[in-house]
Subunit: 360 residues, 2 copies
């Protein structure tokens, strides 16, 4: 985390859930005064107990910055309250949707709208509540910062500084661009994963015994909280419906190609999918690196993974990613070590020389 | 791997790609004679060089078992050749589709059909070729065995034994059930992942900077070889089209729910997805275990993962799964350790006492 420059607080955080409490912890670690509010006395008590901030004193200096961290459905009205009751504060939020709340604020005709700059950290969507909070939650995560056309430079700079001091990587987009981007990178994948998973719920007995790692990966995000995702998707309805319409057109083309045996069209749809997987930025934010996978059979008991990583570490090769695929019905796991393409052979030889059963 | 009982060979493997060569290596490790054939002299030379078997001698005993391991489009005619030219052998294959080749064989009116029993190991779909082969490839993987109504008990038992001796877990299904099962657990997830990934290929510049782990997981399988998947999907067209039709109905309902703000219907579709993720069998083949995730910030350099797993191992907790989420633009990674639900607190405390930055 960087040293704060213009950001000195107090920061008022409205909503002491996972994101609000984590932000409070990160700011407190930097010595910045934080005041907390929440409609839930239990959440508030927990967040205060964790040291994420304190209650605003009766007589107090005005907050420099207000961060709204409430559920999607009530962000607009909470932002209105913040801008109205604190006439000097810069105001931001951490909601998944950016155009809806902004339109609400515009409809209210608020004079203070120039002090508002939206934000959206890409962190923590699968767990919730202050007990899951951590000062490290935002460390290295993308955090969208979405000024509108009337946002002041002072407000934009302060929100960018907030993002930087808690260790996140700012990604500057307009509110409209942001909503279209997350419709594509988050909401559409979630909804189609839900449709695939929904078909599994209806599977005849025994059929799911053939489930492999692929279907587990495709459907993992579909385990997310339906009520939260309902609010997110509803809040971004225009962008989501637009993309769902594109998918429906592609699905019709796919059904026609498969049912009529038009192999060339089917191959083209599949090839466009391959191109899409290559378009995702590399995990380090740079271009996608060529990687190799080394598979190792590992007994499924404590200590064996440590031994494997110690041996892999001794080879001097940096592990880019790991997967563990436990075998149904037997006590061994298959571990996939992903490394730079030119390191695969070396790692394989090094592990085999230490007695590991490996393959590529 | 178990000791062979009735399986003594020779085993003739037709097709020296990833699956055929791996099977040859596994059988040779057990001392069973293996003969290899391939239309590609290069594949054949590689597989022979790896020790996966030998060329059939000019004067030789007849093969006890023939395993057809050729691309989907030519399985039917290769099975016909095997049953016709080797009148005593039991014949199986390792193809992704089971009803199509069987129908082809029935249409030929072969007397030897009773000696055929289909098979399908759930292994090795993302890589290909004999160089990627390993005797351990099938270790602990599900392997569908799909007798038809006229298959002899002797043939079924021999194929079940083949599956067992190479370390795989047999899953017995009818050919029709198999094809409907993989349409649901493999082909549908692959196709919808391709549609999601296809939308990424068309993303405006900058939008994919907001990509998180979710979209990476959903789209990973879409990187598979379009030509191979075209053959697989085409070969299973009826079952795939049936499920795609169900998805289209659900997609229409989803679009209506989102565009008209019908929140209850949207929540129901999402909740059905949650139910589907819970229906996938646990990684150990038993019921799904409740798990907890512990997140740890790890410097992205060789040796740090080894130190983490050594410390985790010292805590006595068994690691069920691992994910590494490299942070865009910075040299730390976030490692997710998945453990049994009742071990999470202990692991967290243990790692924190050793100086790791963690959160749940």
């Amino acid at each position: 985390m960087a040293e704060p420059a213009g950001l000195r607080g107090p920061v008022l955080i409205v909503g002491a859930g996972l994101l609000g409490t984590s932000l409070g912890l990160a700011l407190r670690h930097l010595g910045i005064p934080v005041w907390l509010r929440d409609v839930s006395p239990e959440n508030l008590r927990t967040a205060l107990g964790l040291g994420a901030g304190q209650l605003a004193p009766d007589i107090a200096p005005p907050p420099q910055l207000i961060v709204v961290a409430v559920p999607p459905d009530v962000i607009g009205e909470t932002l209105r309250w913040a801008l109205t009751h604190h006439q000097k504060a810069v105001v931001t939020d951490v909601g998944s949707i950016k155009t809806g709340p902004l339109e609400q604020l515009r409809a209210y005709g608020l004079a203070g709208l120039a002090r508002y700059v939206g934000g959206h950290p890409m962190a923590g969507s699968e767990r919730s509540g202050p007990l899951a909070a951590s000062a490290a939650l935002f460390d290295g995560r993308p955090w969208a910062v979405t000024p509108h056309q009337d946002s002041t430079a002072v407000a934009v700079d302060l929100v960018l500084e907030l993002v930087s001091v808690v260790g996140a990587t700012p990604v500057r987009l307009s509110p409209d661009e942001h909503d279209r981007a997350v419709a594509r990178t988050s909401h559409l994948p979630h909804l189609l994963a839900s449709l695939v998973a929904g078909r599994l719920a209806e599977a005849p007995p025994g059929h799911l015994a053939l489930s492999g790692q692929g279907v587990r990966d495709v459907t993992r995000v579909a385990a997310g909280d339906p009520e939260l995702w309902q609010q997110i998707v509803t809040g971004n309805a225009p962008a989501v419906v637009h993309l769902l319409g594109e998918v429906r057109d592609q699905l019709d083309a796919l059904i026609a190609a498969v049912s009529k045996g038009r192999r060339k069209e089917l191959t083209e749809i599949l090839a466009q999918g391959v191109a899409g997987t290559l378009a995702i930025p590399g995990k380090h934010g740079g271009p996608v690196k060529a990687t190799a996978s080394v598979f190792v059979s590992v007994p499924d008991r404590a200590g064996e993974l440590a031994r494997l990583f110690a041996d892999a570490g001794d080879s001097g090769v940096n592990i880019e990613d790991v997967r563990i695929d436990h075998d149904p019905g037997r006590p061994t796991g298959l571990v996939e070590l992903v490394v730079a393409a030119d390191s695969g052979e070396h790692l394989l030889a090094s592990l085999e020389s230490r007695g590991w059963v490996t393959h590529r």
